[in-house]
Symmetry: C2
Subunit: 165 residues, 2 copies
DNA sequence: ACAAACTCGTTTCAGATGATACGACCTCGG
DNA sequence: CCGAGGTCGTATCATCTGAAACGAGTTTGT
C-alpha cells in the first residue's frame, strides 16, 4: 500500500503507450509519411517544398527569412527547398530591391497552377484523416496541438528541466 | 457568389496554419526536439534507445522483432539502438534458446537503475507540457491521436488517394 | 568614412534515417 | 534428408537533417 501511495506521489508510473510525446510522434510520423509519399509520387514535391508553395500561394511574395518565420523550418531547409523549386521554374527569385543579400520568392504561373492542383488533394487527405471525428473534436485537437507547441517552446527556452513532482 | 459556392463544394480553401498534418508535424517536432535534447544531455540516450529501455522495463525481456511490433520503429533503428545500449551494458543480449537467429534483450541492473532515474523526469516533462490542459482534454487528445494514426495507416495501405470532394 | 558587429543565405560536414541487399537460420514439403 | 522460401538481424547506401563556418551585404558607432 505504501508503494501505491509512493507511486501516486510521483505521478503515475510510466507506460510508453500512454506517454504523450510518444503518441504524438507516432501519429505525426504516420500522417507525415502518408502525405510525403503522396506529394512525392504525384508531384515530385518534398514536404518542405510543398510548404513553400503553400505559403507563397497564401501570402504572395516573401523572402526566405520571412518563410522561416512563417513556417517552422530551418533556414537551410528553406534554402534547399527554394533551390529545388526555382530549378523547376515553380518559383521566381528576384533580387530584393532594398537589401542586396535577400531574394524575394514568388510563385510563377506554373507554380500557381501546381498549387491549384495539389490543394484539393491535400484537403481530401485531411478530410479522410478526420473522417471519424466530430467537427468540434477537430477544432479542439488543433487548439491542443498549438498549446503543446508553445509549451514545448517555452520549456526549450528554459535551461532547467521541469521540477520533478 | 458562385465563387464562394464553388469553394464550399470543394471544402474550404487551404490555409497552412489550419492544415492538420502541418500542425501535427510542427507540434510533434517541437515536443520531440525538447525531449530528445533532455535525454541526450542528461543520459546520453537517443529517442530510440529511450524507447527500448522503456519497453524493456515495462514488458521484460523481448526480441528485437517483438520490440519492432511493440513500438513503431524500423527494425534497423531498433538494431542500432540495441547495439548502443549493449555497448554501454544497459541491456543484455542473450541467444534465443529456440531460435538461433534471434537474440533476447533484457535490461541489466544498471539499465533498470537508469530507467528508474529517467522515468520521473519523463513524467515531469509530460506534466509540464500538459500543464495548461484539463485532464479530459488530455484523454481526448490521446484518443484523437490514436484515431489519426490508424486512419493514416489505412490510407497508406490503399493504393488510391482519397476521393476528391 | 570606416571598422566592428550583425543579418541573409549558401555551403560544408557530421549524424540520423530508412529502403534494400545480404548472411544466417528456421520451416515446410516432398 | 534437402532444397525452396520464409524470418531475424546486420550492413550498405542514398537521402535528409541541422549545426557551424562562411561570403556577401548591411547597420551601427565613433
Amino acid at each position: 500500500m505504501s508503494r501505491a501511495k509512493a507511486q501516486d506521489a510521483e505521478g503515475q508510473e510510466l507506460r510508453l503507450d500512454a506517454y504523450l510525446p510518444y503518441r504524438l510522434s507516432v501519429a505525426s510520423n504516420a500522417v507525415s509519411g502518408l502525405i510525403a509519399r503522396a506529394y512525392q509520387d504525384r508531384f515530385g514535391l518534398t514536404i518542405p517544398q510543398w510548404r513553400l508553395v503553400c505559403v507563397l500561394a497564401e501570402d504572395g511574395a516573401l523572402t526566405q527569412g520571412q518563410i522561416v518565420a512563417r513556417t517552422v523550418m530551418d533556414k537551410v531547409t528553406v534554402s534547399r527547398a527554394a533551390q529545388g523549386l526555382a530549378k523547376r521554374r515553380l518559383v521566381d527569385r528576384t533580387e530584393h530591391a532594398e537589401d542586396g543579400r535577400s531574394h524575394v520568392l514568388a510563385l510563377t504561373a506554373e507554380g500557381r497552377s501546381l498549387h491549384g492542383e495539389i490543394a484539393p488533394l491535400a484537403l481530401a487527405y485531411e478530410a479522410a484523416l478526420i473522417a471519424g471525428l466530430a467537427p468540434e473534436e477537430v477544432t479542439l485537437l488543433k487548439r491542443l496541438l498549438g498549446r503543446l507547441q508553445t509549451a514545448a517552446g517555452q520549456l526549450a527556452g528554459e535551461a532547467e528541466p521541469p521540477r520533478l513532482a
